[in-house]
C-alpha cells in the first residue's frame, strides 16, 4: 500500500500543510529542526494511534492550538481510503473514515500499515527490557489489531492484581485475609498473560531468522545476530506457543511465587517481566555492542519487521517503510546496500538533512522542508 496524501492542521510545528505523495521513494530534505520527523511521526500516528517519540498526545498539538488534525489518503491496490484523526489531549481521539464518523478511533487501526525506523530505536537495543517488550507488542498489533484488546486487558488485570497484592500481604499476615479474591486475579492473569505470551513466542520464532539475515545484510557480514525470548517462567520452561499450556504453566508459577509476591506487593510472574535477549555472536548486545553495531541491530529489527509483515500480509498490504535520519549514519557502501534492500518496497519515505544523504536508487520525489513549509522540488 502507499500514501498519496498527507495533510496536517496544528500538528507539531505545522499550522497547515498538505502534501501529495507518490509510490516509490519520497525524500524529505531540510536542515535540523525544520519539521521532517514531524511529518513521518504524523504518518506513524495514523497507523498506530501513538507517537514513536512522545509518550502522550500533548506534544503533538501545535503550541497554542487546542487540537491537531491528521488526514491521510491511502491507496491499496486500486482502492482508496481517507483517514482523518482529530487529536485533543486528555480526550479520546475522533476519527473519520471516508468522511464518515466511526464510533471509536481504534477502528482506523489496520487500515494503514507502517514500519518506522528512527534514531530513538537505538533504545530497543540499548535500553531496558520494557523497550524490547514494546517493540514486540507493537509489531503484534500491526500484524493483528485484535492484539490491542489483548494488551489492554492484560494491563488492566495486572493493575488490579498489583493493587490487591499491595494490601493482601498485610491482611494475610494479620490472619484475617482470605486468598480467594487473589486466586481470581491469578486465573485472569494466567489466561490473558497466556494470550500475549503465545503471540510473542510465535512472533519471535518468525522474526528471528529474518533479523539474522537483515543484520548480515546491513552490517556486511558483521556477525550472527540472534535473539532469545527470556520468560518469567524460567529458563527450563518449555515454551510452546499454545495458550492453554502456557496458561497452566503461568498459574503454576504464580502459585509458586505466592509468598514472595505477598511480601513485595507486585506481580512477579507474567509477560510484563519478560525480555527479548539480543545477541551478536556469543555476546549480548546490551552492555557489549558498539554504537555502530547497536545501530545496525536496531535497523535490522525494523527491516526484519518490514519483511515479516510483507511476507505474512495480504496482497496489497505491504507496509509503508519510513526511514528517519538513517543514511547519514552509513558509509557509502552500506548506504548503497540498504538502498538496494529497500528499493523494492512499494513506498519508502526518507528524511535527510542534505540531498547528498539520499541514495540515488531512492531518489523518486524530493520535498524541501523549511520552517513549517513543504515543497516538492523533484
Amino acid at each position: 500500500m502507499h500514501l498519496e496524501l498527507l495533510s496536517l492542521t496544528d500538528f507539531r510545528s505545522y499550522s497547515e500543510v498538505e502534501i501529495q505523495l507518490v509510490p516509490g521513494g519520497c525524500a524529505f530534505v531540510g536542515p535540523n529542526g525544520q519539521g521532517k520527523t514531524n511529518l513521518v511521526e504524523a504518518i506513524g500516528y495514523v497507523a498506530t494511534l501513538g507517537s514513536h517519540r512522545a509518550a502522550g498526545d500533548a506534544p503533538l498539538v501545535r503550541l497554542g492550538a487546542e487540537r491537531a488534525t491528521v488526514r491521510a489518503g491511502l491507496v491499496r491496490d486500486d482502492r482508496k481510503a481517507l483517514v482523518e484523526l482529530e487529536i485533543v489531549p486528555g480526550k479520546s481521539n475522533r476519527a473519520r473514515i471516508n468522511r464518515a464518523d466511526v464510533p471509536r478511533a481504534r477502528e482506523v487501526l489496520g487500515l494503514l500499515r507502517t514500519v518506522l525506523f528512527a534514531p530513538e530505536d537505538l533504545a530497543i537495543v540499548k535500553g531496558d527490557p520494557s523497550e524490547r517488550r514494546r517493540f514486540l507488542d507493537e509489531l503484534l498489533t500491526v500484524q493483528s489489531p485484535r492484539m490491542v484488546a489483548v494488551r489492554s486487558e492484560y494491563d488492566r488485570v495486572l493493575k488490579q492484581r498489583n493493587a490487591l497484592l499491595k494490601t493482601a500481604g498485610a491482611t494475610v499476615r494479620s490472619g484475617k485475609g482470605d486468598l480467594r479474591t487473589l486466586e481470581i486475579w491469578d486465573s485472569h492473569l494466567a489466561s490473558s498473560g497466556a494470550d500475549l505470551l503465545a503471540a510473542r513466542l510465535r512472533l519471535v520464532a518468525e522474526l528471528g531468522p529474518l533479523v539474522e539475515k537483515a543484520y548480515d545484510e546491513v552490517s556486511a557480514g558483521g556477525g550472527a545476530a540472534t535473539m532469545n525470548y527470556k520468560c518469567s517462567l524460567g529458563p527450563e520452561a518449555a515454551l510452546v506457543p499454545d495458550r492453554d499450556l502456557l496458561s497452566a504453566q503461568l498459574l503454576e508459577a504464580i502459585s509458586a511465587a505466592r509468598s514472595q509476591e505477598l511480601d513485595r506487593g507486585v506481580s512477579l510472574v507474567g509477560p510484563h517481566r519478560d525480555d527479548l535477549v539480543l545477541q551478536l555472536g556469543p555476546l549480548p548486545t546490551r552492555g557489549y555492542a558498539s554504537h555502530g553495531e547497536s545501530w545496525s541491530y536496531a535497523l535490522a529489527l525494523r527491516l526484519a519487521s518490514y519483511n515479516l509483515l510483507r511476507e505474512s500480509g495480504d496482497t496489497g498490504m505491504d507496509p509503508v517503510l519510513i526511514l528517519d535520519d538513517v543514511f547519514a549514519e552509513l558509509d557509502a557502501e552500506r548506504r548503497q546496500r540498504l538502498a538496494r534492500l529497500v528499493g523494492t518496497a512499494e513506498q519508502v519515505l526518507i528524511t535527510a538533512a542534505v540531498p547528498a544523504d539520499v541514495p540515488e536508487e531512492l531518489a523518486g520525489a524530493r520535498y524541501d522542508v523549511m520552517a513549517g513549509e513543504v515543497r516538492r522540488v523533484v
Binding site: Q160, R161, A163, R180, T181, S187
Partner: protein, 199 residues
C-alpha cells in the same frame, strides 16, 4: 467565572455524572431563564427521591417501601435469583421481559484499584438468601468487563459448595461494556442462552 451563587450552581451541576463544564453552564442558564414553577417541580422531584426512595431490604433494588415491587410480587419465581451490580441493571434486565425471577443488587463489582473487595459488596446478604433452600438457580449478570467477570467467578466459586445451578448470560454482550447499555434484544438473547459456569 461567574458571581457567587451562579457559579455555585454551575459547580454543583458539573459534579453530576456525564455533565462537563460547558453543559453545566448551559443547564444553569436554562434554569435561570425558566419559569419559577418549572424549576420548583424539578427541585421537588429531587427532594422527593431523596426523602422517599430507599433500598429494598431483601434485594437492595430501589423502592419506596421496605420491599421493592419485584420482591413483593408473588408471581415472580423465588427459585431463581439474578445477581447484578447496580439497581439500574435491574431496569435493563426487566426491559427484556425474559426474566421472571428475583434480583440481588451487589452495589458494585470487585475492583482492588478502587479498594472494592467482596466485603464491600452485598455478598454476605446474598449467601444468607441462598441458605434457606428456596433458591435453585443463580444467574450472575454482572457487567461483561474484567471486574464483572472477576466478580462472577468469585461468586461462582463461593456458591459452588451449595450445589445450586450457577449460570452466566451467554457471551454476545459487547465485551468491556456495561449491562445497562446493552440493547434489550441482545441482552434478552444472552439471558435465554445462559451457560453453566464451571469453576
Amino acid at each position: 467565572m461567574y458571581e457567587g451563587i451562579v457559579q455555585d450552581l454551575i459547580d454543583e451541576l458539573g459534579r453530576l455524572p456525564g455533565v462537563g463544564p460547558k453543559s453545566a453552564q448551559r443547564i444553569a442558564f436554562h434554569l435561570l431563564s425558566a419559569e419559577p414553577a418549572e424549576v420548583r417541580k424539578l427541585v421537588h422531584a429531587i427532594s422527593e427521591v431523596k426523602e422517599k426512595i430507599r433500598f429494598c431490604e431483601v434485594c437492595a433494588n430501589v423502592t419506596e417501601d421496605a420491599l421493592c415491587r419485584i420482591c413483593r410480587d408473588p408471581r415472580r419465581d423465588p427459585s431463581v435469583i439474578c445477581v447484578v451490580e447496580e439497581a439500574k441493571d435491574v431496569v435493563a434486565v426487566e426491559r427484556t421481559r425474559e426474566f421472571r425471577g428475583r434480583y440481588h443488587v451487589l452495589g458494585g463489582a470487585i475492583s482492588p484499584i478502587e479498594g472494592i473487595g467482596p466485603d464491600d459488596l452485598r455478598v454476605r446478604e446474598l449467601m444468607t438468601r441462598l441458605s434457606d433452600g428456596a433458591v435453585t438457580e443463580i444467574i450472575l449478570a454482572t457487567d461483561p468487563n474484567l471486574e464483572g467477570e472477576a466478580t462472577a467467578t468469585y461468586l461462582a466459586r463461593l456458591i459452588k459448595p451449595l450445589g445450586l445451578k450457577v449460570t452466566r448470560p451467554a457471551s454476545g454482550l459487547p465485551v468491556g461494556g456495561d449491562l445497562e447499555y446493552a440493547d434489550e434484544v441482545t441482552l434478552g438473547r444472552a439471558f435465554e442462552g445462559r451457560r453453566l459456569l464451571d469453576v
